[in-house]
């Protein structure tokens, strides 16, 4: 075990710091994911509306998110807004904003796809039963959409969690940054610490992401 360098994690408060770093990542992810799911459902529904100007705006929004690397978005929101407008956005807010901005667009697109995949006959049957548009969406379309969405959105959510490692670029010390700090601080005494520490970080990410995918499996079965 010694030469894997896991022992450096038990020096001083190292392991607690690593867990604090993990919480920072998880906190940013949870907040962004919750916002993305709620607003993504709204944006996705809007994307299916037959309004030309709305479609154009949402298309531009989605393309911006697709084209821009998250790192660039982080720099624009954190440094750019200060430079151009003089706003002093905190690093956490900037991170949550960027991840939500990204999540809403992709989630919206997934929702759009799921709604579109619902056969037309479902709408027609609902209308035939005398439901209005709102009722149709709420009672017929949305429940079916959500079931189709689960596996798709799990990919997005776990991707968002893993991408939070980028926030170190705007000064937030999250789990991966703490890992690098620990490895560097012990570069001389345990040169091989990188392997052990990153293995533990891998395990931590796994512990966070695995329950989400189990939950998805459970929900898929339950709602099937």
């Amino acid at each position: 075990m010694d030469n894997l360098g896991i022992d450096v994690l038990f020096k001083g408060t190292n392991f607690i710091r690593l867990l604090q770093g993990l919480w920072v990542s998880v906190e940013i992810s949870i907040v962004s994911v919750v916002i993305s799911i709620i607003l993504g459902l709204v944006v996705g529904a809007l994307m299916t509306l037959e309004k030309m100007w709305l479609k154009v705006i949402l298309k531009i929004y989605l393309e911006i998110v697709r084209i821009m690397p998250q790192m660039v978005l982080l720099f624009i929101v954190y440094f750019g807004t200060t430079r151009v407008f003089g706003w002093d956005v905190s690093a956490e807010s900037a991170a949550i904003f960027v991840f939500s901005f990204w999540g809403i667009a992709e989630m919206g697109d997934l929702v759009r796809g799921s709604i579109k995949s619902i056969p037309k006959i479902q709408f027609e049957s609902a209308f035939a039963l005398g439901m209005d548009k709102k009722q149709t969406y709420f009672y017929i379309i949305l429940p079916q959409t959500i079931r189709r969405l689960i596996p798709l959105s799990i990919n997005l959510i776990t991707r968002m969690i893993k991408t939070t490692s980028l926030v170190m670029m705007i000064g937030i010390v999250e789990v991966l940054k703490v890992a690098q700090q620990i490895i560097e601080a012990n570069r001389k005494t345990s040169p091989n610490a990188a392997f052990g520490v990153f293995a533990v970080v891998f395990l931590l990410y796994f512990i966070v992401c695995w329950p989400i995918s189990r939950l998805a499996v459970y929900l898929e079965k339950r709602w099937a």
Partner: protein
């Protein structure tokens, strides 16, 4: 913990909601978003930087340091910042009579941090270059860097002119060592590696007769690994490392320069070296690396 979490969730929702609202065409929302985004800790009246008085008044100075570049700026096992740069930063805080808020910076965002005034001083092993001096203001230097060449004890390379036609020198791609050797010694064959670890392994396996890199790196390597000597400790142009402030922040720059001069009088940076760098670089290179005004 829970309260801040909920607060962040609601503020995040609010901001994103406003964004979505403006995206979906509810005009007029953008002004409001501007108001909400600006947090309480607005940066003083001089958009861009805080003057010396503003820093003193606020009671806290924001200093950007590396958090994973031992022994210059790193975090020790108790979660405290430490290192050569941090030792100096601590003294700045003490002499200004303010608390220090350390900001963890990366090599790539040091200039951005200063230009947006998100930190007051960068003390992150910042090498003075002409290009950078156009973007930020450098104070007086507190350390020297140059290139160095390390080679095995049994065949020490003391001058690059001694190299034979078939001798290859190891460099890491994209470093100043590569640029310098390509420009000034076009005849020397270079073996280029992308990462430090690869170059190190190749050198240890004897793939090249010597390894050229920043002199701090090769000195540390020779001390950590038996059987190697730094034959050329200082090659090419001497560069310096200095604190940097936002361009135009005269009051802070003047104070920093005065501070560095005063500290020179008490040989502060030698004390700093002995406290933080001695273990890595040994006593032999102290005068080579430290600059006092």
């Amino acid at each position: 913990m829970k309260n801040t979490f909920v607060k962040r969730l609601t503020s995040g929702l609010l901001v994103t909601g406003l964004l979505a609202a403006s995206l979906t065409g509810c005009g007029g929302a953008s002004d409001k978003a501007a108001g909400d985004d600006t947090t309480a800790q607005a940066a003083g009246s001089n958009a861009g930087y805080r003057t010396l008085d503003e820093i003193k008044e606020s009671g806290t100075i924001n200093i950007g340091v590396f958090s994973d570049k031992s022994p210059f700026g790193y975090v020790d096992e108790n979660g405290e910042y430490a290192g050569y740069d941090v030792y100096f930063a601590e003294r700045i805080g003490e002499d200004l009579g303010v608390d220090i808020n350390y900001v963890s910076t990366e090599a790539a965002n040091r200039i951005e941090y200063l230009q947006t005034g998100k930190v007051d001083i960068i003390l992150a092993n910042f090498t003075v270059t002409e290009e950078r001096a156009q973007e930020v203001d450098f104070a007086l230097p507190y350390m020297n860097v140059a290139l160095g060449v390390v080679s095995p004890d049994d065949a020490v390379v003391e001058s690059l002119d001694d190299l034979g036609a078939d001798d290859e020198v190891i460099v890491i791609s994209g470093t100043t060592a590569e640029t310098y050797l390509t420009k000034n010694y076009p005849d020397i064959k270079l073996q280029k590696y992308d990462a430090y670890a690869e170059a190190k392994t190749a050198f240890e396996n004897g793939n090249g007769v010597a390894w050229a890199n920043d002199n701090t790196e090769v000195i540390a390597f020779a001390i950590e690994n038996e059987g190697y000597t730094v034959g050329i400790p200082s090659l090419g142009d001497q560069d310096t490392i200095a604190p940097a402030v936002t361009k135009g922040n005269e009051t802070l720059l003047t104070w920093l320069n005065d501070e560095i001069k005063t500290l020179g009088g008490e040989q502060f940076f030698h004390a700093d070296y002995e406290e933080t760098l001695l273990d890595t670089y040994g006593a032999d290179y102290e005068d080579e690396l430290v600059v006092e005004q």
